[in-house]
């Protein structure tokens, strides 16, 4: 039954969005982290989403390749350079008195968080509605 595929698809969407929310949480938590070199400074992380066309969820349905679940292909680190600030009192400061902060843009992260949360809500909504439809179908002819 095609409706049961939705549980896989929406579930994969919710799982991917929760990975995204996790990276946002990690980025925001480390937005004020400093380090003693530009290389070791915290870099913002982003998940890479990919549609899964040939998975369990996709191959079995009558719509074939259409029922694409989503998966997190990997986590990439932002390559934007972070800022260096002069803070000789900081124990992490390098020989010249500089500390290197993360390249996390808090505003961007907040927008990302809202987007992930909305997408998660959409998936949860789809899941709930499909569950209701399946229950109604099960009750067919019983009233």
């Amino acid at each position: 039954m095609a409706l049961s595929n939705i549980f896989d698809i929406a579930g994969s969407g919710m799982s991917a969005e929760s990975v995204r929310l996790n990276t946002v949480a990690s980025n925001l938590a480390n937005s004020d982290s400093v380090s003693n070199s530009p290389q070791s400074a915290y870099k913002a992380r982003y998940p890479v989403f990919q549609a899964v066309q040939d998975s369990l969820a996709a191959g079995t349905g009558p719509t074939g390749a259409a029922d694409a679940a989503v998966k997190v292909d990997g986590i990439v680190q932002s390559t934007t350079p972070g800022t260096a600030s002069y803070d000789p009192g900081n124990p992490l400061a390098d020989a010249n008195g500089y500390v290197y902060s993360s390249n996390v843009n808090a505003v961007e992260q907040m927008a990302d968080m809202i987007s992930a949360s909305r997408s998660y809500q959409n998936d949860a909504d789809v899941l709930n509605t499909s569950k209701q439809l399946m229950l109604d179908t099960l009750k067919l002819g019983q009233s």
């Binding site: 939705i6 698809i9 969005e17 549609a51 349905g61 259409a66 694409a68 989503v70 179908t137």
Partner: protein, 148 residues
């Protein structure tokens, strides 16, 4: 006189099957709302239902299992049957899948419009419920005939 439940219920079971597959496609669109390069799809409902009705009419005449019953194995009457669509259901909508025309282009090549998909999903659900109600009514009519 033989009574055929499939023809009694008419087009509604087929419609139910196509609606549930459309819900599948729309759910996939929503799940991939943030996937770069993903192209939103939708089922051309009219042609899919017309095809579903045809396959039903062909099989129903021989007393074959209902095409809308996903769990039933469809009867194979020609060598083409095995290759056509999925073996799990008589209604295959794969050839009626169309890419959605996006309202506005996006930078990452994703053509999913969450609002459009969400409203299409809601509409699809209402239609599914309507088809269920029609079948429900048919069954209750049948019940009246049997019990009175």
């Amino acid at each position: 006189m033989s009574f055929n439940l499939d023809s009694y219920l008419g087009v509604q079971p087929d419609a139910l099957e196509v609606y549930s597959q459309r819900a599948d496609v729309l759910a996939a669109n929503l799940a991939n709302a943030d996937t770069p390069g993903y192209l939103a799809k939708d089922i051309d409902f009219r042609s899919a239902l017309a095809a579903a009705g045809q396959s039903d009419g062909k099989g129903g005449g021989q007393g074959a299992p209902a095409s809308a019953g996903g769990a039933l194995q469809p009867e194979t009457t020609s060598p083409d049957d095995l290759t056509a669509g999925s073996p799990q259901s008589g209604v295959s909508t794969q050839q009626y899948l169309k890419y959605r025309v996006p309202l506005a282009p996006s930078l990452d090549g994703n053509s999913v419009d969450s609002q459009m998909e969400e409203s299409a999903f809601a509409e699809n659900n209402v239609r599914y419920e309507a088809a269920l109600t029609f079948i429900e009514g048919d069954f209750s009519n049948l019940n009246t005939v049997i019990s009175d």
